[in-house]
């Protein structure tokens, strides 16, 4: 049995603060915009696994290669057969490879934000001179840039290949520019949706499943309904149904304004009037996801 000795009260005033020689920092302070830039570049590198373990490089790099190789093959075929045009339009490419793009955003959006929530690093970020808006903007911009790299790289391959194959310069440049506008919208839209869903859960796996479920189920549901509407002969309903899934939204925008052929059943894209609704919905969704992210990170307790 240990006997508790009462702690002897300190006699007299013997407490003092020792000066052990800590020096305050008087170097340059890089400030808020520097912190925001660093967060952006770190998130962008992280989206391709750079600066992370080998295992986490595998998937993003693999998806990147899967996106680019078919473009290279198409170019090679076009050059070899001396074709007068590329086998695929610039605007069609992202629609064909939507499964790959969905997988990329589903795997990288949660790794960008869910891990910060799970390991409670968000309060540490906010103890730096950045604010909610900086964090949200940096993450949003980083994921959108990563998606843009993923979707624009194959278009660049196609464009360079087309020029090497001596296809018509103005025609190809116009197509390439239209393709770039469309993938920019696609990147912003999917990055916003993915981040909003991923920011809700600290579980990475669950975030991935939720993002992919939203993207594929909405596309599956919309295209099924469109096919049925087409079979029933109510073609006027097809464009309106297309408003309810991200991929068909982009498809609608580009077939209304960017000279793309629609992948809708029956090939009926939205008219210019309906196209305005598409553009408004796309921009509204991007703004809404930014707003929701801002609201999500308003409270730092998390």
């Amino acid at each position: 049995m240990a006997v508790e000795h009462p702690v002897a009260p300190p006699s007299g005033d013997q407490t003092r603060i020792h000066n052990i020689g800590y020096r305050s920092y008087d170097g340059p302070r890089l400030g808020r915009s520097y912190a925001r830039r660093s967060l952006y570049s770190q998130s962008l590198r992280g989206a391709y696994g750079l600066g992370r373990s080998v295992k986490s490089k595998v998937l993003p790099m693999l998806l990147f290669v899967v996106m680019c190789v078919p473009a290279a093959i198409m170019v090679a075929v076009a050059v070899a057969t001396k074709a007068s045009k590329l086998p695929v339009d610039y605007t069609e490419y992202a629609i064909y490879f939507q499964a790959v793009i969905s997988l990329y955003v589903a795997s990288q959006a949660p790794q960008s934000v869910s891990r910060d929530l799970r390991f409670k690093t968000v309060p540490l970020y906010f103890s730096r001179p950045i604010e909610t808006a900086d964090y949200v903007r940096a993450k949003f911009a980083a994921l959108a840039s990563a998606m843009f790299i993923l979707t624009a790289a194959p278009l660049l391959v196609l464009y360079v290949g087309a020029l090497l194959a001596k296809l018509d310069f103005t025609d190809q440049t116009k197509g390439f520019a239209q393709g770039l506008v469309s993938v920019t919208l696609l990147s912003l839209l999917l990055a916003g949706l993915g981040l909003v869903i991923a920011a809700v859960t600290p579980r990475r796996g669950f975030g991935i499943a939720a993002v992919i479920a939203v993207l594929t189920i909405s596309y599956g549901a919309v295209s099924t309904l469109q096919a049925i509407a087409d079979a029933q002969g109510s073609t006027s309903a097809i464009p309106w149904i297309g408003l309810f899934s991200p991929i068909t939204l982009i498809d609608g925008v580009q077939s209304a304004f960017l000279g793309a052929t629609s992948a809708f059943p029956g090939g009926v894209g939205p008219s210019h009037g309906e196209g305005v609704a598409y553009v408004l919905v796309v921009l509204g969704l991007i703004a809404a996801s930014y707003g929701l992210l801002m609201r999500r990170y308003k409270k730092v307790g998390l």
Binding site: R52, S53, K55, S56, L59, A99, V100, S102, L103, A106, S107, F119, V200, T201, R203, R204, G205, F206, I208, A209, A210, I212, A213, T216, I217, G220, A221, T224, L225, A227, I228, A229, A231, Q232, S234
Partner: protein
């Protein structure tokens, strides 16, 4: 072989909090779409078959299978709390078997049941289509749950690999490369559905015998190997 406590904990992990919401949202969406389609197009066997085959069996069952199968064990391994479970005097295969039963039950309730309801809404089980797709969903629930539970024990990125299999291999490759269809849970379960329906609405690229053998083999092997993996589990640190 079946431990009620492990089962209760797994149910709670799978259906607790927000998970139940997403799991419940997908079936509700399917039923909602069936209602809309029925109202717009009326009862039509081909439409019903397309919708159940394309949306329910090809998309919904695998996604719910991924969520339930990997969710039954993945998060526990991820945050390390599985050691508390493993340190109990329970056989590792028992743990896996119990979690498998739970994952199968959850997948069935959230995918096969809505398929049946949607089928009845769409065409009132004409040509046995609703029942056939329900049987397919039940059968594929078992195989998917076993497969994705195994993935959950093997890899930290189980959800991604599960989705890659379900979406890229089965949907994309399956539609381009005929050979890929032989190795697809979806086609195996379609073979069973084909047998149930009897008509020519449902077709599969795989024979019934092959499909049954492969289904059983995949389920048993995946469960056995998951038990083996759990016996020698090393907890990886955060990357």
């Amino acid at each position: 072989m079946y431990d009620p406590t492990v089962a209760r904990l797994t149910y709670r992990a799978l259906l607790g909090r927000r998970r139940a919401l997403i799991l419940g949202a997908l079936p509700l969406l399917l039923i909602g779409i069936s209602l809309v389609v029925r109202a717009l197009a009326g009862a039509d066997d081909q439409t019903a078959s397309d919708l159940l085959g394309g949306l329910a069996l090809a998309t919904m069952v695998p996604i719910i299978g991924v969520i339930a199968g990997t969710g039954a064990i993945g998060p526990e391994i991820d945050d390390g709390s599985v050691v508390y479970l493993l340190s109990k005097p329970l056989k590792r295969p028992t743990i896996i078997f119990t979690k498998l039963i739970v994952a199968i039950a959850v997948t069935m309730v959230f995918s096969a049941l809505p398929t049946l309801i949607a089928g009845f809404i769409l065409n009132g089980n004409g040509q046995q289509i609703a029942v056939a797709y329900t049987v397919a969903a039940l059968v594929s629930s078992i195989a998917y749950a076993a497969l994705f539970l195994l993935l959950g024990t093997v890899s930290r990125h189980a959800v991604v690999f599960g989705l890659v299999y379900a979406l890229v291999w089965e949907a994309l490759f399956g539609s381009l490369v005929p050979g890929a269809r032989t190795l697809s849970v979806q086609q195996w379960s379609l073979a069973v559905a084909d047998k149930v329906a009897g008509g020519d609405m449902i077709s599969s690229d795989v024979g019934l015998t092959t499909a049954t053998v492969l289904l059983i083999a995949v389920t048993v092997l995946a469960t056995w190997y998951a038990g083996q993996k759990l016996r020698a589990l090393t907890l990886a640190g955060e990357e």
